[in-house]
Symmetry: C2
Subunit: 462 residues, 2 copies
């Protein structure tokens, strides 16, 4: 969907070539900022400033926010100081902060120099908050009301001051010590009588987050409580900003991507895939590949120490990939369910025993099914004309018992490791598939050889 | 976060025991519906109806929506018809539809019988739309304006009719043929002059979705365009409903969970993990486990046909888990990046060659790093005191070349399969890790044995 209809982009390019600027302006004003930004990304560099200057001031700023950082930086380099000021003045403070966080130092200096004094002060305030905190994603532009205003006065105030607020729909009520004491909405104010007091309309049971709270917590609260905005307060319960739902959605998407990447042993990144260079992707992927490759040494060591056993009944080695594979898959299934439930706030560490009990029962069912299917397959296909060492039925038994044991082990490992990670303060998602697979690989081989030595003691006597 | 503070739940339980109903009511009205619902889930069955009756009418309905279906069903069974009617009347239509879709037939009948005529009609309309379509998640309660109204008239209309609309903030403008011709917001109306016409205030460039569009597309549009609501139109461009942002967030979370589950070879479910029974989880997990176990037969067959080779240089078999493991991990990394980018609308099938070219370069870098690390490890550790058949340096070469080839193959397979799946109309996520691992397992073994036969022809001559 990011891909703009090619014909439209091409039309715009042609209009640009032909210098039909007023037609272009008419076309662009029918489009959404997100789509105009996509057009910019398909444009040759030298055309960008021209097209940008055609946009009406407000639309230009909105489009600018949607662009990727390369395009933003390129445009800023081409701006005169007054052009830059025009764009910066139109930005909401939180967007300006996002921009500053992504630009190189010389560009940041120019932006701060052109921003007006109030904006510069607010930007500097926001820059103090740690990355991924509520403070870092909030905006400082919101509507404040007093409890002794009437609904009519409140609406008047909103009409007077609302124009440069990111949202007017949720309004915040302060007492004389600037403590946040209530929340009301434009809906409530409009549906009330003109002379109702804000103090009687407001919801006093305010749900807020602290500036240093994690943005993931903030996003989770939006999805639980159906808010349009959430107030951010300091230690003294004074409101310092609000997080709006559009930013919460971005956080939700970002956090899901991060979980998915970690589960696949990729270091998380907040840059889109197509915008990340080859070296960037390489750096995100190679560390885990190396760690996992080296940790496979355990598996090799185990196989090596049972070389004697394998040499006796060669066919046993052909089932190794199936056994380790099934273990890895069963473990991933369990870990992914638990990690996602943790992310969505459905379970916590204290549910550990409930989870384990559930996984144990699931594992027994899955293990029995797989062991039975496997026994059948071995007896009627793989071992049908077997003429090596050992009774076919005993070999089938070894493999099937191993499958059962492996599934049970893998589900327990897969579900408990993320919970333990969470407990000791790690991100559960780093305990995901690849690491769990490696652990399960080793354990399943140990189960395999133990079962083999138990069931086939005479055959395997070394 | 779902877990309610235990002390609070316990306080509520005690107050219930002591029948302090007015205190209870005071306590409950300070809480959010989502949290009250969580309290219900920790209550004994016989206490639920009592607690529910204590809640003020509107809060009761809001809490009811947040409950899981078992609790809802249990409560409905205990309701008198008039109690049921009170709850149903307070529900928004889309919530009533969600409820009906989850209840057994006899409960559905009772709900439809108690709903008033208009509501019943609207419910029946909405039930016609296929699952996961825009129509199935929309609500039919929204504000309609006419282009020839003034801002003042529009605000008056909103004040008169807004009370039972799910959102009043986005208003829709119809022409005389009931075609949707514009959108305006309460913010625009409030900030305008009283005598400005809606036709001059409205945004005519309306972005809408069709009733049958996929809910994933709808959610993606919310995250691209920062809307609070999105109009849903029929074939004649008449507005039939709106999707509000709170429902879009639920879809975003649902779709991310679905992607994650599919990537881990779990059949997707829309029930939370802790609410799904053991058999439910078993049924979601065992099909892929079986398929993947059986498909591991390929791997076994390949190993079996090279048994001769392995018997010659026994140490080669100890590296199999490391090689297949690295291939699987490299493939998952690529497939997950591509699947997520597809889900977020960052790439499409036509970007296939761009993606492959990128992955090829990443693969060469990762492959070289891993091969070098591996060669070093083999020469200085694993093969240091090797006294079997074959030169250690040649064996190290075989393994390292295989690692390089495997990584390149896995990245190409991992990135192209999801794109091809998308192209032929499958969900890219079903092509994820486990299936790709199985494919990569077989291919990496073929690479291994081919390289071995090439580098060690004399040693392996059978």
């Amino acid at each position: 969907m990011v891909q703009v209809n090619v014909t439209l982009t091409e039309t715009i390019k042609k209009l640009l070539e032909e210098k039909k600027y007023s037609t272009l302006r008419d076309v662009l004003t029918t489009m959404m900022p997100y789509d105009i930004a996509a057009v910019f990304e398909e444009l040759q560099d030298e055309k960008m400033p021209i097209l940008f200057r055609i946009l009406p001031k407000e639309l230009a700023a909105e489009t600018f926010v949607e662009m990727d950082e390369e395009t933003q930086e390129f445009l800023i380099h081409g701006f005169s100081d007054s052009e830059l000021k025009e764009v910066v003045d139109e930005l909401f403070v939180d967007d300006a902060v996002d921009l500053i966080e992504e630009m190189p130092a010389n560009v940041v200096k120019r932006i701060l120099r052109t921003a007006d004094k109030d904006m510069r002060k607010e930007i500097n305030e926001l820059l103090k908050y740690p990355e991924d905190s509520a403070g870092s994603i909030m905006t400082t532009e919101f509507i404040l009301l007093r409890p002794d205003m009437t609904a009519e006065m409140a609406i008047k105030r909103i009409r007077r001051t609302g124009v440069d607020k990111e949202t007017i729909y949720t309004c915040y009520v302060n007492d004389e010590n600037n403590k946040l004491i209530g929340i009301t909405t434009v809906k409530d104010l409009l549906l009330a009588n003109d002379d109702d007091y804000v103090r009687d309309l407001m919801e006093e049971n305010v749900i807020s987050v602290h500036t240093l709270d994690d943005q993931e917590k903030v996003a989770q609260m939006f999805s639980n409580y159906d808010f349009l905005a959430l107030p951010v307060v300091d230690k003294e319960q004074r409101i310092v900003g609000i997080v709006t739902i559009d930013d919460a959605i971005d956080v939700i998407q970002e956090e899901a991507t991060e979980d998915i990447e970690k589960m696949a042993a990729v270091l998380p990144s907040d840059k889109p895939y197509m915008k990340t260079g080859v070296f960037g992707i390489y750096r995100k992927r190679v560390p885990w590949l190396l760690i996992l490759m080296l940790s496979a040494t355990f598996t090799s060591t185990i196989i090596k120490s049972f070389e004697g056993v394998l040499a006796q009944v060669l066919i046993l080695s052909t089932f190794i990939p199936m056994i380790t594979g099934s273990g890895g898959n069963a473990g991933s299934q369990a870990s992914v369910s638990v990690i996602r439930a943790l992310s969505l706030g459905e379970i916590e560490f204290k549910s550990m025993f409930k989870v384990l009990w559930k996984e144990l029962r699931v594992a027994i069912l899955c293990g029995l099914t797989l062991a039975a299917a496997n026994f059948f397959k071995l007896m009627f296909f793989d071992l049908r004309n077997y003429d090596g060492k050992g009774e076919p039925v005993l070999i089938a038994l070894v493999v099937s018992l191993t499958i059962f044991g492996t599934i049970v082990m893998a589900k327990i490992v897969g579900s408990s490791l993320p919970l333990l990670a969470k407990k000791i303060g790690f991100d559960p998602a780093v305990m995901a598939n690849p690491l769990i697979s490696t652990v399960c690989d080793s354990l399943s081989l140990l189960i395999y050889f133990a079962v083999a030595l138990l069931v086939l003691p005479n055959v395997l006597a070394v």
